[in-house]
């Protein structure tokens, strides 16, 4: 088998969520004989349980395939999978850097969607060759001609010979394989140049240390090569190199154009940041590859162990997750109500959800997450400025001159029928209308600027429900704007519960306070005494609800045979209590902290 660069193709697949990316990837692997049809588990690439359940791809997974083309030559395909959700734009850009081309899938029944656009533009920005594919042509509602026209009209890509396929049935997938060869360029770069390898992902292996997923741009790396990175001074001896097929497979060397992994007994993840460039010590490259724009966390939330004694376990779990998730930020936090924990930064709500679930599943830890917040700029009367990610840290009102909050540029794509309801929603969320573009007769793009703190609650859900699921949404942070913000405190039995405090716009404080108080009334179980729930802004009570005391919890009878039964019942109740946190004298179920999120229904 020839292993020259001319026969290598590095590509990724980008698509709107659910347009069939993982299914096509599975089919490509099957057709190239990487996996037999029989052994194949659905959607191989989505290896994390969580990914499979949610139908999303989160981490990057490179796969190497061999394909014997119709021209008689054998080719090596390196497929680097990309996440499909807007929260993970950062990770998409990471994988794109390692490729020469991108397969752009469009669902023939839905046409071009927001994420199709966002990912296509990302690919174009990274100088990738776009290879359109029209999927799901087997469905009765497929409109492949229209999808092709949308690709040309909206994206300006030539879709005239785009393969029309069904990834599900395997129909016409061979055409995709052939076009990968003709449409996607072979990698450039030279083996004789000094080593330049782009780290596009990494994870920690207990035996081998940090495993770097790399794309070799120039040069060659093999076992024994002394390497270093541009961001760190430390040197390492390569202990193993290999490729993914899709499991890790040891090789003698990796050379320019190839995608694979490097292990070098690297103990600390800080020494090999994703986006950094690896070079050799003996013959170093002069300058690094252009790395990635660092993804900034946008949404911040407190993460606390349900059982306070598990603080160190939680710390270990978060640090391990951070290894291959640079976008996750962690810093120690301390709450009067919840004890010691962490303030974590996430790319968005989905990212937050995913991290939360991974902590619970992969590390078997029960956690409490507090309502998410964004980072605010506080300009104080003494002329200093501070950034607040935790409402608790907000200085007293008297010390604040004014505050700024992050705003986003939102693009909402929708059939024209739903323009009215969407405008209403955006207005309710303090949005400012910017523009409306008719993309074609069935699709409108609405542009708004919206405060980020209005988006992190249930904006996406509201959007979907108002448009019967038709609208899609994409955003980017556009900056900060001055805003009239206040801290909304919740008092339980007269005491402020710091973990429930949020920062809101002044005009919405009353409404939010009332909603949260109502919600808390629903989620806090009745206890032996009456519990007043109050919402307060600057010491002034603006809403009040009451959890009534319960009246009866005793078993009516307790005679000879009832003793054991009653004891068992109480033991069960005790277990239930362990899921509660005591805030002063009040017991609160752990989900209460996050449930206040779900109050944001615009009624």
């Amino acid at each position: 088998m020839s292993n020259s660069k001319e026969n290598v193709r590095n590509f990724c697949i980008v698509a709107h969520i659910d347009h069939g990316k993982s299914t096509l990837a599975d089919r490509l692997m099957e057709k190239t004989g990487q996996v037999s049809e029989r052994d194949m588990e659905e959607q191989l690439l989505d290896s994390m349980d969580l990914e499979r359940e949610r139908g999303i791809t989160i981490k990057l997974t490179p796969v190497r395939m061999f394909y014997k083309a119709k021209d008689g030559k054998e080719y090596v395909f390196n497929l680097i999978d990309t996440p499909g959700h807007v929260d993970f734009t950062y990770e998409v850009s990471r994988s794109l850097k390692a490729c020469e081309g991108a397969i752009l899938i469009v669902d023939a029944t839905q046409g071009v969607q927001a994420q199709t656009l966002a990912n296509a533009y990302l690919a174009i920005d990274n100088d990738l060759e776009i290879m359109p594919v029209i999927n799901k042509v087997d469905l009765a509602s497929a409109r492949p001609d229209e999808a092709a026209r949308e690709l040309e009209d909206i994206l300006g890509v030539d879709a005239s010979d785009a393969p029309r396929i069904s990834a599900k049935t395997g129909f016409n997938v061979e055409e995709v394989l052939e076009q990968i060869i003709t449409k996607i360029p072979a990698p450039k770069g030279s083996e004789s140049e000094p080593l330049k390898a782009l780290i596009f992902d990494s994870y920690y292996d207990n035996f081998k240390g940090v495993i770097c997923f790399v794309r070799i741009m120039d040069g060659e790396v093999k076992v024994g090569t002394k390497i270093k990175t541009f961001m760190s001074d430390k040197q390492f001896d390569v202990t193993e190199v290999g490729v993914f097929s899709p499991k890790m497979q040891v090789k003698d060397s990796l050379s320019a154009g190839e995608v694979g992994y490097i292990a070098a007994s690297i103990k600390s993840i800080e020494d090999t940041a994703v986006g950094d460039t690896i070079t050799s010590v003996d013959n170093p490259a002069k300058e690094p590859l252009s790395g990635y724009k660092k993804a900034l966390p946008m949404v911040f939330s407190g993460v606390f162990p349900l059982d306070g004694s598990k603080f160190n376990d939680l710390k270990d779990a978060l640090l391990k997750l951070k290894l291959n998730d640079a976008a996750l930020s962690i810093e120690p936090d301390n709450s009067a109500a919840l004890g010691f924990g962490f303030r974590c930064g996430f790319l968005g709500l989905l990212h937050m959800d995913v991290i939360q679930e991974r902590i619970e599943r992969e590390f078997d830890l029960e956690i409490i997450t507090t309502a998410p917040s964004v980072s605010y700029k506080v300009y104080k009367t003494d002329g200093t400025q501070m950034i607040i990610e935790n409402p608790t840290h907000l200085p007293p009102v008297t010390e604040i001159d004014y505050m700024e909050e992050p705003v986003i540029n939102a693009s909402i794509f929708t059939p024209p029928d739903y323009v009215g309801p969407i405008m209403e929603l955006c207005q309710y969320k303090r949005g400012v209308y910017k523009d409306m573009v008719y993309l074609d007769k069935t699709r409108v793009e609405l542009k708004y600027t919206l405060p980020l703190n209005e988006i992190i609650y249930d904006f996406f859900d509201s959007l979907k429900s108002r448009t019967k699921g038709y609208a899609s949404f994409d955003y980017e942070i556009s900056g900060y704007q001055r805003s009239d913000l206040v801290k909304l405190d919740m008092l339980l039995n007269g005491d402020i519960c710091d973990a429930l405090s949020i920062i809101v716009h002044k005009d919405k404080a009353y409404e939010r306070g009332r909603q949260i108080a109502e919600k808390l009334k629903d989620v806090i179980p009745r206890q032996m005494f009456e519990i007043p729930i109050q919402a307060a802004v600057g010491g002034k009570i603006i809403a009040r609800e009451t959890v009534k005391a319960y009246r009866k919890d005793v078993l009516a009878k307790c005679y000879g045979g009832d003793v054991t039964r009653k004891k068992k019942l109480l033991e069960k109740q005790k277990e239930g209590k362990k899921k509660m946190r005591s805030i002063g004298t009040v017991e609160i179920p752990s989900e209460a902290f996050i449930s206040i999120l779900k109050t944001d229904n615009d009624r």
């Binding site: 009866k552 009878k557 054991t564």
Partner: protein, 370 residues
């Protein structure tokens, strides 16, 4: 001192709320059942020869539904096999409508000196809905036959569309019958009973409504000279149930018959719930027990607390310290700090405040160690 409980697993018809071991269709097996029961009594006496019996309780089912000679036989057998104190309290449960003068005569002849009547409610439409065998009038007739005896009655709370006035009238009926002891139980709908369906459909009273009626009736009974001495039990002075008090003191008791539970020498054990299985076991000299647990350490301590705090006298701290060679106030300092506002201390006795007796689970839970 120890009590003996005798279970009679037969009745005329199942009440809609009943989930006890009671089988109307098996009443034909009564004769052989009692033969086995006598044998178990003999066996238990050999197993626990040193126990001195001061209370006997015959419950069910409906003990009065079977021939009185079987009941008399059981009492005689107990007296023969165990040491029974002369002034022992011997109670039998009766259902109005299943009793006659002859039966009462037989009961009294073997020393039964306390009669617990299943009244439940004084309203015939409610009785019918519960599938009870009797009417309010039957109850009065029964009381009349038992004039001058030590009588107790059961009353249920939380029935369909029940209100406080109705329960007061039911209490009045019981008092008119000469009852000196009342058990006022909140109905507990158990899975598998017909009334559970009514519960699921929201036809029964809510816990809050039950608590309101309970508070009202507690007040009413106080006016009538009844003390509440346990969550669900009220009595005139001198008429507390000794047999039941023994349960709450975590005293020993031996249960014989189908589904009967025992607590002896630190072991809790329960017999099978099936009449046939029970008889087979006894005939073939096998144990009829289906569960057996030795209770020790923190478990034993927790039982003691859980049971004692059901009573209005509360827990005797000195007794606890002696029993468990412990110092209660040190052992539970953090619990007491947190929960003392719901409790009160009267010398050696720690009790739950009157107004919190009906919401005691939360307090008791705090005493449970992990």
């Amino acid at each position: 001192m120890a009590g003996i409980y005798v279970h009679v697993p037969f009745c005329k018809q199942k009440c809609t709320y009943c989930d006890f071991a009671s089988f109307p269709r098996e009443i034909g097996k009564a004769e052989s059942y009692f033969a086995c029961l006598y044998r178990e009594i003999e066996g238990r006496a050999k197993q626990y020869p040193s126990k001195i019996i001061d209370t006997i309780y015959i419950g069910g089912g409906t003990p009065s539904v079977v021939d009185a000679k079987f009941i008399a036989g059981a009492i005689r057998q107990i007296k023969k096999c165990f040491t029974v104190k002369k002034d022992a309290e011997i109670t039998i449960e009766l259902n109005p409508g299943t009793v006659d003068q002859d039966k009462i005569k037989t009961y009294k002849s073997v020393g039964i000196n306390r009669f617990s009547l299943g009244l439940q409610t004084g309203f015939d439409d409610q009785l019918k809905r519960l599938n009870r065998v009797h009417t309010a009038k039957d109850f009065l007739l029964c009381c009349n036959m038992l004039k001058g005896e030590n009588l107790s009655a059961d009353i249920l709370l939380g029935l369909h569309d029940q209100d406080l006035e109705q329960v007061k009238k039911s209490v009045d009926l019981a008092l008119a019958g000469g009852v000196k002891h009342l058990s006022v139980y909140a109905l507990t709908p158990e899975v598998g009973t017909p009334i559970y369906t009514d519960y699921l459909n929201g036809e029964l009273l809510s816990d809050d409504e039950v608590a309101d009626i309970y508070d009202g009736i507690r007040e009413y009974l106080k006016e009538k000279g009844f003390d509440r001495y346990e969550v669900s039990n009220f009595a005139k002075d001198g008429y507390y149930s000794k047999h039941n008090m023994n349960y709450w003191r975590r005293g020993e008791y031996i249960g014989v018959g189908v589904s009967a539970s025992s607590f002896c020498d630190g072991r809790r054990f329960t017999n099978t719930f099936s009449v046939d299985e029970y008889m087979n076991a006894v005939i073939y000299n096998k144990s009829p027990e289906i569960s057996s647990d030795v209770i020790e350490g923190d478990d034993a301590k927790f039982e003691f607390i859980m049971l004692a705090l059901r009573t209005t006298k509360g827990l005797n701290v000195k007794e606890y310290n002696k029993l468990f060679d412990a110092d209660f106030d040190i052992e539970y300092k953090t619990v007491l700090d947190k929960k003392m506002r719901f409790m009160e201390r009267d010398g050696e006795n720690l009790k739950i405040k009157d107004e919190y007796l009906y919401v005691q689970n939360d307090i008791i839970l705090a005493f449970m160690k992990n």
